[in-house]
C-alpha cells in the first residue's frame, strides 16, 4: 500500500467531520436573527479614518535598512556556532561578507540616509 494512504484517509476524515458539524449546526441550531446580529463585528474602538494612510517615505528607508542589517545577524549565528569547524576559510568568507555590508553602511551614511531631517 502507498505510505501516503493513511494521510489521505485522515484528511478525508477531517473534511467529513467538519461537514457533519456544519450540517448539524445548520439543521438543528436555534436561529433568532436580528439587525444588530447581522452587523459586521469588529473588536476594539470604532475605526477613525481610512486604513490606507500615507506614511513618510523615511519610515520605509529605516525599515529597509533594519531588515538588511537584521538579516546579516541571521547569517552570523550559524557561522558563530560552527566557527571551529569552518576554520580559516570561514573567517575569510565572513570577513568578505561583513566588508561588503560595512561598505553598504558607509554608503547609506555618506549619502545621508541615516539623517532624519
Amino acid at each position: 500500500m502507498n505510505p501516503y494512504v493513511p494521510v489521505l484517509i485522515s484528511f478525508a476524515a477531517a473534511v467529513l467531520l467538519i461537514g457533519v458539524f456544519l450540517f448539524f449546526c445548520h439543521a438543528f441550531g436555534p436561529k433568532a436573527p436580528s439587525p444588530i446580529k447581522s452587523d459586521p463585528f469588529e473588536c476594539g474602538n470604532p475605526p477613525s479614518g481610512p486604513a490606507h494612510d500615507r506614511f513618510a517615505v523615511r519610515f520605509y528607508i529605516v525599515a529597509m535598512l533594519f531588515l538588511l542589517f537584521d538579516i546579516e545577524v541571521v547569517f552570523l549565528y550559524p557561522w558563530a556556532i560552527l566557527f571551529r569547524e569552518l576554520g580559516g576559510l570561514g573567517i575569510m568568507e565572513m570577513g568578505f561578507f561583513l566588508t561588503l555590508l560595512v561598505g553598504g553602511l558607509a554608503y547609506v551614511w555618506w549619502r545621508g540616509a541615516l539623517e532624519w531631517e
Binding site: L100, G103, A106, Y107, W110, R111
Partner: protein
C-alpha cells in the same frame, strides 16, 4: 544527504570579484563626494571595467584551457563562451559609462549611482556568462536584473522612466519566478542543479526524467524569452526601452541581451546538448514569431528610441534562429552576431544621445529631417550603424546575418533561413526611412543641441570603426567566436 566538498578555484572567480569589489569602491567614492563629480565616478567605474578586461587579455594571467576550466565543483566554467560574452558586456558597459555623464548632465540628474550600478550589472553578467549551475546562473540573472531595474528608473522625476522601471521590475520579477520554477523541475528530474549532472541524468533516457525536464525546460525558456525580449514575451520592451535613459537603453539592448543569450546557449548546449529534439522546434518557432512581429511593429514607429526597441526584438529573433541551429556553427554565429549588434546598436544610441534634447522630446522621425545639413558627421555615423543593423555589406551586421543564415541552412532549417532574408529586407523599410529623412529632407527646425562631449564622440567613432572593421575583416572576431563555440568535453 551527502555534499561533496566544494573546490575553491579563486582564479576563476577573479573577474566577478574584481567587478563586485570594484563596483563597491566606485559606490563609496561617489557617496563620499556626494555625487558631485560624475566624471570621477564614471572614470573609476571605467577603470574597474578596463582592469577586468585586462585580466582576460593579459598574457601573464594563467588561462584556463577547456580541460581544466571547470571550477567550484563545476559551478563556474571559464571557457570561450563565458569570456567572449563577458568581454562583450564589459565593452557595452564602457560605452554606457562614456555616454551617461553628458546625458545625465543634460537631463539635470545629479546622483552618480548610475556608474557603480553599471559595474554591478556587468558583474552579474559575468556570472551569467560563466555559470554552469542553475542556481549560480539564477544568482547572476538577479544580480544583473536588480541593477538594471534601478538603471531603467534612474530619472525618477520623469514619468516615462518610472513607468519603465515599474514595468520592467514587475514583469522581470515574474519572469525570474518562472525561471526559478523551471529550476525546481530540473532538480526534480535530475536530482541536481548542475548542468553537467542534468545532462547525465537525461542521458539515462528514463521517460519520467525526460518528461519532468521537458516541463522544466519550457519554464526556463519562458523566463529566458522575457530577458531576451522574444515574442510572445516582448510586450514590456518598447515601453521600457523608450522610457529608460538613452545610455541605459543602449546597455539593456546590447549587454543584457548578450548575457541572456549566453545563458540560453549554456543551458541548451550543456544541459540539453544531447537532446536537441526537446527544444529545437520551440526555439525555432520563437525565432520565427520574434523576427516577424519585431520587424512588422518597427515599420510603423515614429519615435526613434521605440523603433530601435522593436528593432532589438527583431534582432533577438535572428539570434534565436542561430541558437536553434544548434551545432557549433549556430553558436559561433550567435556570438559573432552579438559583437556585431553591439557595434551598430551602441553607435545608434550614442547618436541619439548626441542629438537629443532635454527629455528626449526631439527623437521623432520628423525631428531628424535634414540632420545631414546640420550635423554631417552624426548623420553619417547613424547611417552606418543603421545599415549595419539592417545587414548591408560591408558592415558588421551583414556578416552576422550571413553567418546565422548559413548556420540555419546547414541545420536544414530552411523556413527560418528564408525568413531571416525576407524580414531583413523588410527591416530596410524602417532603417532606410531614417537615412532618407536625414539626407533628403530639409531641416524642419533649428537644432539647439550642444556639440557632443568627448565621451559621446569616442563611442560614436569606436562604434562606426568597429562596424566597418568587423564588416571588412570579420575573421578578426569570427575566429574568436568559433573558438568560443567549441563545446567542452
Amino acid at each position: 544527504m551527502h555534499f561533496p566538498p566544494v573546490q575553491f578555484d579563486w582564479i576563476a572567480a577573479v573577474p566577478m570579484t574584481l567587478l563586485s569589489v570594484g563596483g563597491l569602491g566606485v559606490l563609496l567614492l561617489d557617496a563620499k563626494g556626494k555625487g558631485r563629480n560624475p566624471l570621477v565616478s564614471a572614470g573609476a567605474a571605467a577603470a574597474v571595467l578596463v582592469a577586468t578586461l585586462l585580466w582576460f587579455v593579459h598574457p601573464l594571467v594563467p588561462h584556463a584551457t577547456a580541460a581544466d576550466a571547470r571550477s567550484f565543483t563545476s559551478m563556474l566554467t571559464v571557457d570561450g563562451l563565458g569570456v567572449f560574452v563577458t568581454v562583450v558586456c564589459i565593452l557595452t558597459g564602457l560605452g554606457t559609462l562614456a555616454l551617461a555623464p553628458s546625458y545625465m548632465a543634460r537631463e539635470g540628474v545629479k546622483a552618480g549611482e548610475i556608474y557603480p550600478l553599471v559595474v554591478f550589472a556587468v558583474a552579474g553578467m559575468s556570472v551569467l556568462a560563466m555559470g554552469t549551475d542553475l542556481m549560480v546562473l539564477f544568482l547572476g540573472l538577479e544580480i544583473m536584473s536588480l541593477a538594471v531595474y534601478v538603471l531603467a528608473g534612474y530619472q525618477r522625476t520623469v514619468d516615462g522612466s518610472v513607468e519603465a522601471a515599474l514595468k520592467y521590475f514587475l514583469l522581470g520579477a515574474f519572469a525570474s519566478a518562472i525561471f526559478l520554477y523551471g529550476i525546481t523541475f530540473m532538480y526534480g528530474a535530475a536530482g541536481s542543479v548542475r548542468l553537467d549532472l542534468v545532462a547525465r541524468a537525461l542521458a539515462s533516457d528514463n521517460p519520467n526524467t525526460v518528461r519532468l525536464a521537458q516541463i522544466g525546460l519550457a519554464l526556463l525558456l519562458a523566463g529566458l524569452g522575457f530577458k531576451i525580449a522574444a515574442v510572445p514575451f516582448h510586450l514590456w520592451t518598447p515601453d521600457v526601452y523608450q522610457g529608460a535613459p538613452t545610455p541605459v537603453t543602449a546597455f539593456m539592448s546590447s549587454a543584457v541581451k548578450a548575457a541572456a543569450f549566453a545563458l540560453a546557449l549554456r543551458i541548451l548546449r550543456v544541459g540539453f546538448g544531447a537532446h536537441p529534439m526537446l527544444w529545437t522546434e520551440a526555439v525555432k518557432w520563437l525565432a520565427i514569431a520574434t523576427m516577424v512581429v519585431g520587424n512588422l511593429a518597427a515599420l510603423v514607429q515614429r519615435d526613434l528610441k521605440r523603433m530601435l526597441a522593436y528593432s532589438s526584438i527583431a534582432h533577438s529573433g535572428y539570434l534565436l534562429a542561430g541558437v536553434a541551429a544548434g551545432h557549433p556553427a549556430g553558436t559561433s554565429a550567435v556570438l559573432f552576431y552579438l559583437a556585431a549588434y553591439l557595434a551598430g546598436n551602441l553607435g545608434a544610441f550614442a547618436v541619439l544621445v548626441a542629438i537629443g534634447e532635454k527629455g528626449d522630446r526631439n527623437l521623432n522621425l520628423d525631428d531628424i529631417a535634414g540632420l545631414y545639413k546640420t550635423h554631417p558627421g552624426l548623420a553619417f555615423a547613424l547611417s552606418a550603424c543603421l545599415l549595419s543593423l539592417a545587414g548591408i555589406p560591408p558592415t558588421a551586421g551583414f556578416f552576422g546575418k550571413f553567418l546565422v543564415f548559413n548556420a540555419a541552412v546547414k541545420a536544414h532549417m530552411i523556413g527560418p533561413a528564408v525568413l531571416i532574408a525576407l524580414t531583413s529586407a523588410l527591416s530596410l523599410g524602417y532603417y532606410l526611412t531614417v537615412i532618407v529623412k536625414m539626407y533628403m529632407a530639409e531641416p524642419a527646425r533649428e537644432y539647439i543641441t550642444e556639440p557632443p562631449t568627448v565621451g559621446v564622440r569616442l563611442v560614436v567613432v569606436a562604434s562606426v570603426a568597429s562596424v566597418f572593421v568587423l564588416g571588412i575583416l570579420p575573421s578578426l572576431v569570427q575566429g574568436l567566436a568559433e573558438q568560443a563555440a567549441i563545446p567542452l568535453p
